[in-house]
């Protein structure tokens, strides 16, 4: 009897009547043919491991900071800037008029307004905004004050331009303030630490750094009343 319980019986796999099963699942359904499969092996784990860099999938668009600061590159941090091609329009720097008062964020002033106010206001001055990036990928706008067209040049302004020229030559530099702007050049090259400028345009950065309320395009702007009559704020 035991032998009868040991069988290996060929089945057509599709028969629903001739070999009706004694189990209660009833007649067999016709099964789809199973094609050969290729499967992994335990020894293959290294090649089967899923690369965890997929965590970066959604990083780029959302990881750009929503704040862009308009200030000198922070002390102690190496930064670099993009050079501009001679004879072509600048892409990553521009001249602006900026209005600066104590205790207030600086505002950009439209060229026509600045021209009209230049005789009565000493708070407006021309600057060059330059896009920079730190080694960790943080981007910012560096406002470099310009020497007056006539008269004595300022050591700070002049030395800032010197630092800019070094930075745009493809170096990581660090500003040191000692009577004028001095600088250190990092031993790390651009190949070792490539600068991570974002895909944003220069104008987008300016728009983030200077939201509409800080761009003065008319004489109705509240700043003029504040400058003329004062403010309790």
């Amino acid at each position: 009897m035991a032998d009868e319980l040991q069988t290996s019986q060929l089945s057509d796999g599709v028969d629903t009547t001739a070999k009706k099963a004694r189990g209660n699942s009833g007649a067999r359904l016709k099964a789809d043919p199973i094609t050969p499969i290729t499967v992994g092996e335990v020894v293959d784990a290294a090649s089967l491991a899923i690369d965890q860099k997929h965590m970066e999938d959604f990083a780029s668009p959302d990881m750009e900071p929503s704040v862009v600061e308009c200030r000198r590159p922070p002390k102690g941090a190496y930064f670099t800037v993009l050079p501009e091609k001679a004879g072509e329009s600048w892409r990553n720097r521009a001249y602006y008029f900026v209005l600066e008062t104590e205790g207030r964020d600086p505002c950009l002033v439209a060229h026509t307004i600045a021209e009209a106010k230049k005789d009565e206001e000493d708070t407006i001055r021309p600057i060059m905004l330059v896009r920079y990036v730190l080694m960790n990928g943080t981007e910012g706008l560096w406002p470099i004050k310009l020497n007056p067209a006539e008269g004595k040049s300022n050591r700070w302004n002049t030395s800032a331009l010197t630092v800019l020229h070094v930075a745009e030559s493809g170096k990581w530099v660090r500003i040191i303030s000692k009577g004028e702007y001095r600088y250190n050049v990092s031993k790390k090259t651009m190949e070792e630490v490539p600068p991570k400028f974002s895909d944003r345009t220069f104008q987008q950065l300016v728009n983030i750094a200077f939201p509409p309320e800080r761009v003065i395009t008319s004489f109705d702007h509240p700043i003029w009343d504040e400058l003329a009559n004062g403010s309790t704020k």
Partner: protein, 626 residues
């Protein structure tokens, strides 16, 4: 990769001996459907005596496919057959495919499906549950089946179980990750081999603890009240209000349960505070012992070995989720019930040190964290750097450890301040120090959250994944998910490669081995090599440490296993438990002595009364006679 021309869908009928701590019973029958590429099928019906190897094992590669292959592993261990490879376990694959949907409910993750439930999920015709129950009863309640009964079991085995497995495979096939499924299949079978071996328990001592658990718990509650100077247990009932009052009086911040928004003194929330507040340490450790005592119920077989279901893939991170009745589910003190009972045998623990930090370092690529991990003690390195000292104190290390782990668990300054007993400003300063030291890690953690917020799967190295549901408060799960879930992937690969290594238990990040005393060190070394190689394979060459200190982590007969924390605590709780067992026994014998004396006194009184009665009766009868 290996190409298989044939498929085998095996199943066996046996007494699973659930909840008894026993090995599964000898298979009453073993059946399989063998499928060829042209659609031909061969049905195999086997019963004892079994051949040396299964008839479908003819040397050429074939894939073994089943639902919960662990169940078949026990039968294969009985028949002496080699565990098949490659093997695909449809239970494991179901858990991989449906993890996110199983975690959507409010009650935590749903339990894994039965074969019938899985078939219904895929719209596959399957058996009647009542019939399955009837057949199970036949398999479970008898050992001397008649040939007719064996044939009935074979019919059920083939036409219901094997065929349902085949249909389920066809339905699931388009969704299966065939490249990685065999790793999970091998893991499931090795896990069952671990249960087959079982953990040796000091049964006489355990039974004494179990017998006197109620009496011990009474004394423990009394002593805990005395230690804390407050009646947090009143008439054997834990009083939360009393506990909150005590915490307020001692200036201990009361945690708020993030799920309910209410005060809580659950041990889960209090655990991070125990190094800061001594009262909380006392409460946490004693309460856990008390809770464990009231539900002691290790499943121990007649051979004195503890066996329980590890519940693989039972958590959303893919970690095992054994019941609280498993030895490793008890407080670490009680792990000392583990003791090899055979002379010349030894037990060893191989520990994946700082597993979560190592995985975070490897996946984020943070160079400082990598260097700190490789130094052997990342928390010490961080503390030394942040404080500007060369040798930070244990407490300082503890503070910075809490910070690193807290950040990985999504902890904010408020919670860190509460746990460490410092101001929120100080906590924020420490968190800022961490951000400054590990900027790459922090950016990586932020990116995980961003990806999770897009409601797309976060997938680990071997395919385990979880998708956010969009509910608020999921951030913590996803911050910690890559570390926990990849740790689980590592454990599965280690198991799959363990071969004949005598693993008898595992926790999240450690493996327990039992072997001959003269071979144990070699076995440990092999295990360490497997862990290291597995971590290199999964973490792009990064090697995690697999520690086992011979003087501490290897226990020889007749010594008992001692958890590291218990050892560092000077066996305080273990000795306490032993004292309470002895006291309970003394009390019992005293009570039984008293009862005996009372019974003897009663007997004597009754005898005297009977003598008087008899005398009276005789006198009366004499009078009557007169």
């Amino acid at each position: 990769m290996i190409t298989c021309q044939r498929f085998v869908f095996p199943d066996s009928e046996f007494d699973a001996k659930k909840g008894q701590g026993e090995r599964p019973g000898f298979p009453h029958c073993y059946c399989a459907i063998e499928v060829f590429p042209d659609g031909r099928e061969v049905e195999h019906r086997l019963a004892a005596p079994y051949p040396e190897r299964p008839p479908w094992d003819r040397g050429d590669p074939y894939a073994t496919i089943g639902f919960a292959l662990g169940a078949e592993t026990g039968s294969m261990m009985h028949t002496g057959w080699t565990l098949p490879s490659p093997a695909i376990d449809l239970y494991a694959e179901y858990m991989v495919l449906h993890n996110s949907e199983m975690c959507r409910g409010d009650e935590g993750k749903k339990p894994g499906p039965s074969l019938i439930q899985a078939c219904r999920r895929y719209g596959v015709p399957t058996m009647d549950p009542a019939h399955k129950e009837k057949m199970r009863e036949l398999a479970y309640t008898k050992t001397n089946h008649t040939p007719g009964e064996i044939a009935a079991l074979q019919d059920y085995c083939l036409n219901d179980d094997c065929r349902s497995g085949l249909r389920l495979f066809q339905a699931m096939r388009p969704h299966l990750d065939l490249a990685r499924a065999p790793i999970r299949g091998a893991f499931m079978m090795q896990l069952e081999k671990m249960r087959w071996r079982g953990m040796p328990i000091d049964v006489p001592l355990y039974r004494r603890a179990e017998r006197h658990a109620a009496a011990i718990a009474v004394k423990m509650r009394r002593e805990l009240n005395r230690k804390l100077g407050a009646e947090i247990y009143y008439s054997g009932v834990f009083k939360r209000a009393a506990m909150f009052r005590l915490m307020q009086q001692r200036g201990i911040p009361i945690p708020v349960d993030p799920k309910t928004g209410k005060w809580s003194c659950s041990t889960r929330l209090l655990k991070p505070m125990i190094e800061t507040y001594s009262e909380m340490k006392i409460f946490y450790e004693d309460k856990r012992m008390l809770d464990a005592l009231t539900r002691l119920g290790l499943e121990i077989g007649t051979d004195g070995r503890h066996r329980t279901w590890a519940n693989p893939f039972g958590t959303k991170t893919g970690r095992n989720n054994p019941s609280t009745k498993a030895l490793w589910g008890l407080p670490h003190t009680m792990r000392s019930f583990l003791r090899t009972t055979t002379p010349d045998m030894a037990i060893a623990q191989v520990d994946v040190s700082n597993e979560e930090i190592g995985i975070a370092a490897a996946l984020s690529g943070d160079p400082t964290l990598i260097a700190d991990y490789l130094s052997g003690d990342p928390y010490r390195q961080f503390a030394a750097s942040a404080l500007g000292v060369t040798s930070p104190t244990t407490l300082q290390r503890q503070v910075y450890k809490a910070c690193v782990l807290g950040r990985i668990y999504g902890m904010g300054a408020s919670t860190l301040a509460r746990n460490l007993g410092i101001s929120k400003g100080q906590a924020q300063h420490i968190l800022d120090q961490m951000r400054a030291r590990y900027p790459v890690l922090n950016a990586w953690l932020d990116r995980i959250l961003i990806k999770a917020a897009h409601l797309v799967p976060i997938t680990c190295t071997l395919g385990w994944s979880l998708t956010a549901s969009g509910r608020p408060g999921e951030e913590r799960t996803f911050l910690n998910f890559p570390m926990q879930a990849n740790g689980a992937e590592l454990m599965r690969l280690v198991f799959a490669r363990a071969g004949d290594l005598p693993i008898i238990g595992c926790a999240h990040d450690s493996f327990i081995l039992e072997d001959c005393a003269d071979r144990i060190e070699q076995t440990v070394w092999r295990m360490q090599e497997i862990v290291r190689a597995a971590s290199r394979d999964l973490l792009d060459g990064f090697e995690l440490r697999a520690d086992c200190k011979p003087n501490e982590d290897i226990t020889f007969y007749p010594d008992r296993f001692v958890d590291k924390r218990e050892r560092e605590d000077g066996m305080r709780h273990w000795n306490w438990l032993m004292r309470l067992i002895e006291e309970a026994e003394n009390d019992e014998s005293e009570r039984s002595g008293n009862r005996r004396r009372v019974a003897e006194d009663l007997d004597e009184g009754l005898r005297a009364a009977r003598t008087e009665d008899e005398a009276d009766t005789e006198a009366t009868q004499a009078e009557v006679r007169i």
